[in-house]
Symmetry: C2
Subunit: 413 residues, 2 copies
């Protein structure tokens, strides 16, 4: 079954809005085993819209159209669809009722402009929109099914899940049941992940790689005749991935690294405090993105200056003078200092040169030390040489710091 995704809107053509719907739909449909064959984007123009509808009908079995269902004059999709189908428009009462009720709740009434949205092509199937105002619809043209959905991402995704995916599956009774997972790894380059997974391919498993900055993500789908089989295929496969990649896998459920660290801290009933220099607060920002992090994240200090390292964190000035602010000795003292200041179980200290200025021959831009101090294990620290822009060096440093906490809680370091 060949699928075409057709996204519409002048704001996409002029680059003023990013087309997130295509990427999202492409990933889901591919993972479910569909053939996403073509993707077209076109502006709000009657003639061009009609011509791409025609093109899509000739080359695809299912076409998913997004956008152009709003109330303004540049929303042309319904009108063009009716012309393309060679039918008139008719009032759709359930859609009007839903819109009236929705507006009533926020103290508004349905205006004449909004009425345009509930006159749909005759003979089409209405797809009621429980997540926004614009109803969608579907219709059949010479063996090709068209779905017309709103462009608002939240509404588009909900209506894909509610209407489009079940309908596509119904039209493919021979299609297997599938099961999806998102595995994320940190600490290995993509080539090494691929090498460690060499020969892991097997019947009923589809594997897609995606490099997400320094993380490598694996989109895994399993296919079988029954859901149970697909699920057990998946867990066998994930066991094999785990035995090959081990500590480098931080989630098989698509979580962020900081969510995993937050959950581990709560599980161990431990608390964290951070002392950051070159990362400037990015580590504490990422940790505090996790809802409920106030129970495990106590305090952060961004000590850009040597004075702050000494005054707030109690790092001896003599240590900074002897080894420099960017050194194993200083990050370990920062980690211990912030741990004691906050009364936490674990302290992290980070110091480095994010650039573009500030590098020296001995300590070039990208030199970073990360230290961890815990009551039970004492101090550990690692030296890194990172490459990239200032923001990239900050980010890769924070990922390594998060992973150091994770490995420490897992007793790997």
């Amino acid at each position: 079954m060949k699928i075409e995704i057709l996204t519409t809107g002048d704001e996409l053509m002029s680059g003023l809005t990013r087309d997130g719907n295509f990427q999202w739909a492409g990933e889901i449909l591919t993972a479910l085993g569909f053939d996403v064959a073509y993707h077209t984007t076109v502006g709000d123009d009657m003639i061009r819209l009609k011509s791409v509808f025609k093109n899509a009908k000739n080359r695809a079995d299912a076409v998913i159209v997004t956008g152009g269902l709003g109330p303004t004059p540049d929303d042309l999709t319904i009108e063009v669809a009716a012309e393309f189908l060679n039918v008139g428009l008719e009032l759709n009462q359930p859609a009007l009722d839903m819109m009236t009720e929705r507006f009533r709740k926020i103290g508004r009434t349905v205006s004449e402009t909004n009425m345009k949205q509930v006159y749909l092509p005759k003979g089409s199937t209405t797809l009621l929109n429980k997540w926004g105002t614009a109803p969608g619809f579907s219709c059949e043209v010479e063996n090709t099914v068209f779905f017309f959905l709103p462009g608002v991402p939240k509404e588009f995704r909900a209506m894909m899940d509610e209407y489009v995916l079940p309908e596509l599956e119904k039209r493919n009774p021979q299609m297997k049941k599938s099961y999806m997972r998102l595995v994320k790894t940190f600490g290995l380059p993509e080539s090494e992940v691929a090498q460690k997974l060499e020969g892991i391919e097997r019947e009923g498993i589809r594997l897609g790689y995606r490099a997400h900055f320094r993380e490598i993500h694996l989109r895994v789908s399993s296919f079988a005749d029954t859901e149970n089989e697909a699920q057990s295929l998946m867990s066998e496969f994930l066991n094999e991935v785990d035995s090959r990649l081990g500590r480098y896998v931080f989630t098989t459920e698509g979580e962020m690294l900081e969510e995993v660290v937050g959950a581990l801290l709560k599980q161990h009933e431990m608390t964290l405090a951070t002392a950051e220099s070159c990362t400037g607060g990015l580590l504490s920002h990422r940790m505090t993105n996790v809802p409920g992090s106030s129970s495990c994240f106590l305090e952060g200090v961004v000590s850009y200056s040597n004075e702050a390292k000494s005054k707030i964190l109690g790092v001896p000035m003599a240590l900074i003078d002897s080894y420099g602010a960017v050194s194993a000795q200083v990050v370990e003292a920062m980690a211990k200092g912030v741990k004691e200041l906050a009364g936490s179980d674990i302290g992290i200290g980070i110091s480095g040169i994010a650039g573009p200025g500030g590098g020296t021959p001995e300590k070039p831009v990208g030199t970073v030390y990360i230290g961890l101090y815990s009551e039970t294990k004492g101090a550990v620290s690692h030296k890194f040489h990172f490459h990239g822009t200032r923001e990239e060096i900050k980010l890769v440093t924070v990922l390594n710091a998060l992973d150091l906490i994770r490995q420490s809680l897992l007793n790997n370091v």
Copy 2:
């Protein structure tokens, strides 16, 4: 002149890579006054590639193809282009020489696989790639010009600038000279920006709106017969924008808000320190993203707990007990405390409820106080009620804090 952008690659169809090239090219080409009419994406498949080439030839005057010029078997663009043009491939010596030299510098030799990249369709014009390995090429088919460029964004953009844009302009001698600027505003919703700019449209100016979270960006292009005229049209227009939007405009050069704040601090020779609660270090992270920020950003404290607010920042416990941690009194004391701790000119204090938990009837999720303390002006603070997810509330808080610093340095508050 109708332009089609054609992006290729299985990784785009399966959503594992985001298509940034289309958005970038769409924005630049539209701003320059071209008609970006169609955009197509297709996977690495001979038949489909050939059919979309044909489609594009029939409906566009210029076609920009990206991707598929690499050395691996799924890179099919050159082969398909040759078939489509009905010509053979021939070795392009300048492209080979450039590749050989490039590889020599990193101690590699050109392998047989790489040789594939320098056999280009006979009769095409080679577009040498100074930014990467894969050369591009262009050719003419029945009045439609095709440009074939690599998919790597850095190389794609450089080659657009170097080859494609000048060639498109040459082919449109009647086209006006143009000039582009990116204006960014903060503090007004899109509808109010639009209302204040009502009737500002004029001959020779094109204006595109883009909502970028809570910032509204205006992509402005001016068109005239000469560059000088285009430039003076632009400065007249920007003056008018300035007189209508005034303090809400923070840049006409596309800078980030933190860059503007960093530059203002340096200009006034003033320094900053921050005390953050609910934003968890995002403010200090954003400020320290600016290269050279160590000269104006001294210290940050992330004081999640009341103990930290009291112990490190010297906020009296009695103040916290009387007014609560989320109050004007406490953020002003935090701002003053961190200013004194760091010895900076300005201190910022932030406290609020980012959610999803922690709200109360008096202080629901989204309640945030931002305080600023400076030696000369004393303390100011503002109360906000934000909506959104935890991360959105953190982000909008930080934007408001940055803007408060900016307005204070401009003597608007």
